[in-house]
């Protein structure tokens, strides 16, 4: 199963969920500059951004979840509601979890065609999964700055950098 090789992604997602869940509406609407996403927009972008790419791989559960997401007015429409953002973070994580538990390392070499700016690429599943993981990390880092600027305590996403995987204790 691929899930072993992506150990740590689940805990990073959990650190984002724990950071977002207790936020107030004003904390979610915080936008440090007009040209940048708000806290809520960034968190919902993490959740909803996962679906497009997983659907391109026809990952388990991705089509149904993408259909639900398509019914949203816009990603920004949930950006003020912590419970909605958490719901989509957890739902999209379930899709990732199911995928990583269903596929093996042999699936990483599979490809699909994707056209970008007039050029068609054979995109590997390995490239796609890493891209979305890195996308989570990139925007998770942004969230840490935005929440830190507001004085919100985020030990998991902040000082631990999302490193929530605790090694097993040594036997006495």
């Amino acid at each position: 199963m691929l899930i072993h090789w992506f150990d740590g992604w689940y805990t990073y997602n959990t650190s984002i969920v724990h950071a977002v869940a207790p936020l107030t509406q004003s904390q979610l609407l915080f936008r440090a500059a007009p040209n940048l996403r708000s806290v809520g927009e960034t968190a919902s972008h993490i959740a909803l951004g996962r679906m497009d790419w997983f659907q391109r791989m026809d990952a388990p559960g991705s089509a149904a979840l993408a259909a639900q997401a398509a019914a949203l007015e816009s990603p920004a429409s949930i950006a003020h509601d912590p419970s909605e953002i958490v719901k989509w973070l957890e739902a999209s994580w379930q899709m990732i979890d199911l995928t990583l538990k269903s596929w093996t390392t042999a699936d990483l070499a599979r490809t699909y065609l994707h056209t970008y700016y007039g050029k068609t690429y054979a995109i590997s599943y390995q490239w796609t999964i890493w891209r979305i993981l890195a996308h989570d990390l990139h925007h998770g880092g942004e969230l840490a700055v935005m929440l830190g600027m507001q004085g919100v305590e985020i030990p998991e996403l902040g000082s631990l950098g999302g490193h929530l995987t605790v090694p097993p204790q040594a036997e006495p």
Partner: protein, 157 residues
């Protein structure tokens, strides 16, 4: 097997460090055009500056090199740097040099060693340590560099 592990690791490291990655920038892309003044700026005193993050990335790369070459290393320590444009540019040179040396260390590693547990108390293989402390760690901080840069651009307009 050898090529699979090391090539995948180096590809991930280069992807996050140099890009391109589509709609989010790599470390060097985010740092392009950043001056010493911008690098030292903090949105609030309790937050890290770009320069601090870059020093942290250098220290993390040095940590990974030590782990690959000796199987042990002292934990990276956050520092609060100061300096002029020449010092900042020298820092960027050290960052690129550390990345190049890390790739060399990865190329030299015996793949069997990647599956060893270098520090029994941590319970993680060297491969797992490098995966979490390398490209994944860098992507997290890359987002912060990009955000701090964007924040300053927004304040100017």
């Amino acid at each position: 097997m050898k090529e699979t592990y090391t090539q995948a690791l180096i590809a991930h490291f280069d992807s996050v460090f140099a890009g391109p990655n589509g709609d989010y920038p790599a470390i060097l892309e985010a740092l392009a055009g950043v001056s010493a003044t911008q690098a030292l700026w903090k949105p609030v005193p309790t937050q890290n500056s770009i320069w601090q993050i870059v020093e942290h990335l250098i220290a993390s790369k040095e940590w990974q090199i030590e782990m690959l070459e000796r199987g042990q290393a002292a934990s990276p320590v956050w520092v609060d740097p100061a300096g002029d444009e020449a010092a900042w540019q020298a820092t960027l040179v050290r960052l690129k040099d550390a990345h190049a040396r890390l790739k060399l260390a990865l190329e030299k590693i015996d793949e069997a060693d990647l599956l060893q547990v270098p520090v029994p108390e941590w319970g993680s293989t060297l491969l797992e340590l490098i995966l979490s402390s390398g490209s994944a760690h860098e992507a997290h901080h890359g987002g912060q560099i990009d955000y701090l840069k964007g924040l300053q651009a927004g304040k100017k307009s």
